[in-house]
């Protein structure tokens, strides 16, 4: 589904944010990427949606080599990856319902079914009846849920959640984690980037740990090695 092969991302000033990173994610996986701030977690997400271009290496998403992708095909790749941004990127002067509607319109969803779909999504993420509220009228955890609802609105095969529990209390963090687990159980491949210790302790899925742009550990990789 997703393949990072010897991917390096560096900037002209010499900063190397990802250093020869190689991993694969299969359809239906739940991958947790951990690491301190600046370890390269967000960079992996941005490379995945072609918001950044790798300096070296190859990234394949759903069979498409992103290094060879034509610019007109980038939107299609981005529609395959639902993204929960660290800063939410919820459009402030649109209601929660309108924010989700945008993604459905982008995906070419049947206009007659959009209202029901929005209602269903809000219900699913636990903010039922908040469609007509603006982001400023929601609590932090509710905005996070709205961001997840928007990310999964068009039923993308992959969901990338970048620090989905940042600044949330422990109880809400666990709720968000459980929500992502549920989305994964429904068949969506989920990649969660986090430095939240609570989530790391909860996680019993594959766990990839980054430090200064390098993969330090890949639990599944370890498991495979043990099996070998």
């Amino acid at each position: 589904m997703i393949e990072f092969a010897h991917v390096t991302k560096s900037y002209p000033n010499g900063d190397v944010v990802l250093d020869d990173v190689t991993f694969t994610v299969s359809a239906g996986d739940f991958l947790v990427i951990t690491g301190k701030s600046g370890a390269g977690k967000t960079t992996i997400g941005r490379l995945l949606i072609h918001d950044l271009v790798p300096t070296k290496g190859k990234i394949i998403v759903d069979g498409e080599d992103l290094s060879k992708i034509k610019s007109k095909n980038i939107p299609a790749i981005r529609r395959k990856i639902g993204f929960v941004f660290q800063d939410f990127k919820i459009i402030p002067d649109k209601t929660i319902g309108e924010n989700i509607t945008l993604v459905l319109q982008i995906a070419g969803y049947d206009p007659n079914k959009i209202k029901d779909k929005v209602k269903h999504l809000l219900d699913m993420v636990g903010i039922k009846g908040k469609a007509d509220l603006f982001p400023g009228q929601l609590a932090g955890g509710e905005i996070q849920r709205a961001a997840i609802a928007r990310a999964i609105a068009a039923d993308p095969p992959v969901l990338f959640a970048d620090e989905p529990t940042g600044n949330l209390d422990k109880e809400t963090s666990i709720e968000i984690y459980n929500l992502l687990k549920k989305i994964n159980d429904d068949g969506t491949t989920v990649i969660m980037a986090t430095h939240d210790v609570t989530l790391i302790e909860l996680n019993n899925s594959r766990h990839l740990h980054l430090e200064k742009g390098k993969i330090i550990s890949d639990e599944e990789k370890k498991k495979h090695k043990t099996e070998k």
């Binding site: 949606i49 918001d51 939107p75 981005r78 941004f85 990127k89 945008l102 993604v103 982008i106 928007r150």
Partner: protein, 301 residues
């Protein structure tokens, strides 16, 4: 469409500026379309009327007239030469005064207007005003063309009028064209700047939409719609002001141009003008948004 209307509501003064400049441009387009059509019709009516009239002496014979008409018909530049008898001249006079009993009963120095006091004439239609002097030379050589007490042949030909009218018509067309092009340019520039400013002010939102997988067309569609709304509303207002101007000037124009045009101007013609103006408005707004969109696409590469 909702986003486009919301964009307009958010910045009403920018919308007002865009609609105002399109209205002004299309008002000028409307007025100049009518003026150009009118001047063309006036010119055409002059060109299709007999352009040279040679008044004949009393007592001419049929053979003499036939000889003159034959000579004229073989003269280069003559389209048609027709004899108008005294009786026909009276009929034409009656027609021109509209059977007004006061005018028909006018007592002249020669008495009440009758066929006897009106001269017979030969009316000549020329292929072009350039042939007038050549035809006039032929008429001046004729014995049956009457002579004024000053010894000049009685030949009327409005060469100067037609040439002057042609010159004015061309000048009006050119001035109108230059004005319309200048205003169209200002309109395109104004709408383009307004749309570009709006795109620029929402670049964070646009950035998010791109990350969510929106294509460029999806992003610029509300702005294209907004621009088209300006074009259509501007065209409708421009047309309304044109129509009001036409109705206002009808009492002045009708007695002067009533023989060439129907007054008030038929609604069918005005609706045709509205159609043309809406198309022109759409072209202007489409071009403006196209340029704004091209700038956006270039910047977002």
């Amino acid at each position: 469409m909702n986003t486009a209307l919301k964009n307009i509501r958010r910045s009403p003064y920018q919308a007002l500026a865009a609609v105002f400049i399109v209205t002004l441009t299309l008002y000028i387009v409307g007025i100049f379309s009518l003026v150009t059509t009118a001047s063309h019709s006036i010119l055409l009516s002059f060109e299709t009327k007999p352009q040279l009239i040679a008044y004949l002496k009393d007592g001419h014979t049929t053979d003499q007239v036939a000889g003159l008409i034959s000579t004229l018909n073989s003269t280069q530049g003559v389209k048609e030469a027709t004899y108008v008898s005294k009786q026909e001249a009276l009929e034409l006079y009656k027609k021109s005064v509209g059977n007004d009993p006061v005018l028909l009963g006018t007592v002249t120095d020669w008495g009440i207007v009758t066929a006897d006091i009106l001269p017979a004439s030969v009316e000549i239609t020329a292929n072009s005003p350039q042939s007038f002097s050549n035809i006039a030379t032929v008429l001046e050589g004729s014995d049956i063309v009457s002579t004024t007490p000053q010894g000049k042949k009685e030949i009327d030909y409005p060469q100067d009028v037609i040439l002057e009218l042609t010159r004015w018509t061309n000048a009006i067309r050119m001035a109108g064209l230059v004005l319309v092009i200048a205003l169209a340019f200002v309109s395109v520039l104004t709408i383009m700047i307004i749309i570009s400013m709006k795109i620029s002010s929402r670049r964070v939102e646009i950035g998010t939409l791109k990350l969510l997988g929106a294509r460029n067309f999806f992003i610029i569609k509300p702005y294209l719609q907004e621009s088209i709304i300006y074009g259509v509303i501007g065209a409708i207002f421009g047309w309304l002001f044109t129509y009001i101007s036409v109705l206002y000037s009808t009492p002045f124009l009708a007695p002067r141009l009533g023989s060439i045009f129907t007054f008030p101007i038929p609604i069918e013609i005005m609706l045709l003008l509205l159609g043309g103006m809406v198309i022109f408005g759409l072209i202007l707004s489409f071009l403006s948004s196209l340029f704004a969109a091209a700038r956006f696409v270039n910047r977002s590469k």
